[in-house]
């Protein structure tokens, strides 16, 4: 490689040939030096207004219509206009080709940073991380969203906007509980899914024969026969994917309503890996852009001035305020992720005795990128932190663990700090903060009263005494009852099976009629 290929660009202005040149330069470094493996890139330049549009539909380029997106849009717009909120430099979509949106007002340096960050960092992570491989279908997502959009529009035409809106409202309320957390037998293929939806409808239409209604059925089994064990087995209980359960078993839903639940469920599933890999995803992208930008500068393709501009925004991005700082609002995933990636780089290339003791597998192996690529492919935030947060980084960030027990009148206890006795505990607790199992309430369908009033019974297993917010829980359960169209009950149970609280909600007449 030539050491001085001349500057990629000078000044702040960019045009499309420069973008192309920047992309090619980044790609060369990403492939040959970092060994990244990415989806093909598609770079789209958008305006601030289009960025706001993208914000309100979860970053996706197309989405079905729903008022809640309009609400988010109005909200973001008001904030943006007042200057309270800046806009992101980019949005990147886990799809193949991988679409990165760049803001038009970025300077050439920022475009380089953003291309290195999104089009190579995030892109590599999307393509290689096991969670994304397992749960998302990058090839099919845009087609599926297109299908979802037109399907929702069709439903609105056929069944009225209000009915569709009610179903979607209910489905959105349950979205966080419409996720399969454990892989099933087959790989998710959204394109086949879309085809199947069509085939299902076609088959139902072609196989319709009124005669079947008159065929006598066998003798009805008595309620005793259906022992509760067997019944629960047949219904696939307990089931934590509430949307799936409703889609398959809710007695009075229309076909199109089931399809809508399915759409919402699939979209929730698509975003599930992203919520579990924020630190890693941003850490990877930040590390990649840092390496690429530094290398471009070393090669003399980025002027000193532009490199300083890059360092300024890079430093802003990886800034982590302390807990007592006014700006503190939790951990900055960019800062933590980048710090850990750099720390791994140090451990692999230049370990000290402590590192050898804590990370015998990787300390001093020398091939930084091989280790990092392996980490990026096989971990999520929780496992990543619990494996790779080093004592040195804990000391550097001066981490400490607070235990807040409301029973404890005296106050909040400092449970562990960055010392020899505390490293493992601090690390375990921090990892737990990123464990979805702890973040989302654990709610399951446990039983259905088939013989009686068809009440749907749910159970919230309370962890560490954190119960559901009552007002919100009632609203969500109301939506659930509307979909189920019979009573729904939820009990909150602690670890020793004591019932802490019980909710019962009846369906509204409105939704039953829809």
């Amino acid at each position: 490689m030539t050491a001085t290929a001349g500057f990629l660009f000078e000044g702040a202005d960019w045009d499309f040939t420069k973008l192309q040149r920047i992309h090619d330069a980044c790609e060369e470094i990403a492939r040959s030096e970092l060994g990244l493996d990415t989806y093909p890139n598609q770079i789209e330049v958008i305006t601030a207004e289009q960025m706001l549009d993208a914000y309100s539909s979860a970053g996706m380029p197309l989405f079905y219509k729903h008022w809640s997106f309009g609400k988010h849009f109005a909200h973001h717009e008001a904030f943006y206009r007042k200057g309270i909120m800046g806009l992101a430099y980019e949005i990147v979509i886990n799809s193949s080709p991988c679409i990165s949106y760049l803001m038009e007002e970025n300077t050439a340096t920022m475009q380089t940073l953003v291309i290195a960050h999104a089009a190579f960092g995030h892109n590599h992570f999307f393509k290689n991380n096991y969670l994304f491989r397992q749960w998302t279908d990058a090839e099919g997502i845009l087609d599926y969203l297109d299908f979802a959009k037109s399907y929702v529009a069709q439903c609105e035409e056929r069944h009225g906007r209000l009915a569709v809106e009610q179903t979607l409202d209910a489905a959105h309320a349950l979205m966080s509980h419409g996720i399969d957390r454990y892989p099933g037998k087959k790989k998710l293929d959204l394109r086949a899914e879309e085809k199947r939806a069509g085939e299902r409808r076609q088959h139902e239409e072609s196989a319709f024969n009124d005669l079947w209604r008159t065929v006598p059925t066998g003798p009805v089994k008595s309620a005793e026969l259906l022992s509760s064990e067997r019944r629960r087995n047949l219904l696939g209980l307990p089931q934590e994917n509430l949307l799936y359960f409703l889609e398959k078993t809710a007695p009075r839903l229309q076909l199109w309503q089931r399809e809508l639940l399915r759409i919402v469920r699939h979209i929730a599933q698509y975003f599930y890996p992203q919520s579990q890999t924020k630190v890693m995803n941003e850490g990877t992208a930040t590390y990649v852009h840092y390496r690429i930008m530094t290398r471009l500068h070393e090669q003399g393709r980025l002027s000193d001035g532009n490199f300083l501009e890059f360092l300024t925004s890079h430093t802003n991005v990886v800034f982590q305020p302390n807990f007592d700082d006014q700006r503190f609002s939790g951990f900055n995933p960019y800062a933590l992720g980048f710090a850990m990636m750099q720390d791994i780089e140090r451990i692999v290339s230049n370990p000290d005795d402590e590192d050898r003791e804590w990370f015998p597998d990787i300390a001093g192996t020398g091939d930084v990128m091989a280790v990092l690529r392996d980490v990026w492919a096989n971990y999520r935030d929780e496992s990543f932190i619990s494996q790779f947060l080093s004592p040195r980084l804990i000391r550097h960030l001066r981490l400490f663990h607070l235990h807040d027990d409301p029973e404890q009148r005296a106050g909040i206890r400092v449970d562990a700090i960055h010392d020899e006795r505390g490293y493992r505990r601090v690390r375990r607790e921090l990892a737990r903060q990123y464990d979805v199992g702890y973040i989302d309430p654990n709610i399951e369908v446990v039983d259905v009263d088939l013989a009686g009033n068809r009440r749907l019974m749910l159970r919230h297993t309370v962890i560490k005494g954190a119960q559901l917010n009552e007002a919100d829980a009632k609203r969500v359960l109301q939506h659930l009852a509307d979909l189920w169209s019979y009573d729904v009950s939820l009990v909150e149970v602690d670890a020793s099976d004591n019932v802490l609280k019980e909710y019962v909600l009846n369906p509204r007449a409105l939704a039953a009629a829809a």
Partner: protein, 423 residues
């Protein structure tokens, strides 16, 4: 790798979602719009702007956990050691509850555009007695200039545009100018050297060929003036503003009247493409004036309402044929009228004015501070009330405070039920 420029894509992809949101929150937003418009000047009323609505009914509930024992790992330890107990309220935890957060939950602020604002503001209002409605909305087509086209009738050729394009083309294609050829010919004539002469002859031949190849005016240069049909209103609205400007009318009262007129104007401009305003002020005699004089010009004298009505009648007769114009009138006064004028007023109103008007509103303005209920019935009010009792279509309200203008306006134009409208 592809680079796509999306900047030129049609914007407002979120427009439909936004409209859905507004529709859903309509009642709330409308309330907020009314509330926010009360505190504003009329000029600003229709500027759009930020409104804030309660989140009730607009929230998107999720299962959320709260309370219980909490564990957190934080960065930036300075002095804590294991086993320290930090008091719960205070700086120790560094997580003092943020008061701003609670607010954000309760109210939802966002910006409405001008159109959205006016739509919501006037949404439940309707023009009364639309006898001429059909006429009002029927439109005929007219023609108007709309740029240039590459095709058209020869009569419409735009010479200047055509020549301009031809010139540009000739320059771009480097058509030799006649002067250049003349110079060259002169040079050939003077030239003694044979070789040079042959060279120049060849050059001249090439230039001449080029001159023939590139025409002075090419068919592609020709442009025609383009005309476009446009709707032309056949029925328009005229709005008469009648106001008593005698000494008893204070600035405050005029201000109230002005606000009412402006609202009426905005309202009418949304229904009619063309709205004219006629200002008639009167003391004991009436005159048509411009807006500035109307509101600010000094005047004094007694009060004869009939003079204004007479003036309006004459203007209608001379300039606004009732068949072509929708006539609206709003009269503002403090209610004083000379006692002997009553008969003339009622005759003018019932025989001349009301039969040709779509709507006649009388606004009685009072001094600030006084409640409308305290205002004693003035002579004009009593007179109009008597006329109304006889079945004359008059709308009348009393106003004494700025904040009442909007409610009164709404009240006057409130959408009535069909059965009420029928008779």
């Amino acid at each position: 790798m592809h680079i796509v420029d999306r900047r030129l894509n049609p914007g407002s992809k979120s427009l439909e979602n936004r409209q859905r949101f507004l529709r859903r929150a309509k009642a709330l937003v409308q309330g907020a719009v009314k509330k926010s418009s009360q505190d504003r000047d009329i000029k600003d009323v229709l500027e759009g702007g930020e409104v804030s609505i309660p989140l009730d009914g607009m929230n998107e509930p999720r299962f959320r956990r709260e309370g219980g024992t909490r564990d957190m790992v934080l960065p930036g330890n300075k002095k804590f050691i294991e086993g320290d107990i930090l008091p719960r309220s205070g700086e120790g935890s560094g997580r003092a509850s943020d008061p701003g957060e609670g607010d954000g939950e309760d109210a939802f602020r966002f910006v409405l555009s001008r159109d959205e604002f006016v739509d919501l503001f006037l949404d439940d209002l309707e023009l009364p007695d639309l006898a001429k409605r059909k006429l009002a909305e029927a439109e005929s087509e007219g023609l108007r200039r709309a740029g240039y086209a590459t095709s058209g009738s020869p009569a419409n050729i735009s010479v200047s545009r055509t020549v301009r394009l031809a010139l540009a083309r000739r320059v771009a294609l480097r058509r030799p100018r006649p002067e250049t050829i003349a110079e060259l010919e002169a040079e050939i004539a003077d030239c003694g050297d044979e070789a040079r002469r042959v060279e120049l002859m060849a050059e001249l031949a090439a230039l001449k060929a080029k001159l023939r190849r590139i025409p002075f005016i090419d068919p592609i240069d020709i442009r025609y003036r383009r005309f476009e049909t446009m709707p032309k209103p056949v029925a328009q609205a005229v709005m008469f503003c009648l106001m008593d400007v005698s000494g008893s009318m204070s600035e405050h009262m005029k201000d109230l009247a002005k606000r009412f007129y402006m609202l009426l104007y905005v309202f009418l401009t949304r229904r009619y493409r063309h709205v004219e305003i006629v200002f008639i002020r009167h003391t004991d005699r009436a005159e048509e004036v411009d807006e500035d004089t109307f509101f600010h010009g000094p005047a004094s004298g007694g009060t004869l309402v009939s003079s204004a009505l007479q003036a309006m009648h004459e203007i209608v007769r001379s300039r606004f044929r009732p068949a072509d114009w929708n006539i609206y009138a709003a009269q503002a006064s403090d209610g004083d009228n000379s006692g002997s004028d009553g008969a003339a007023v009622s005759r003018l109103l019932t025989e001349m004015i009301l039969p040709v008007s779509q709507f006649f509103a009388y606004l009685e303005v009072g001094e600030t501070g006084g409640s409308t209920f305290d205002m004693p019935d003035s002579s004009l009010w009593t007179l109009y009330q008597r006329l109304r009792a006889d079945g004359v279509p008059l709308s009348m309200r009393k106003v004494s405070d700025r904040s009442e203008i909007f409610p009164v306006f709404h009240d006057l134009f409130h959408r009535r039920r069909k059965q009420e409208k029928a008779p």
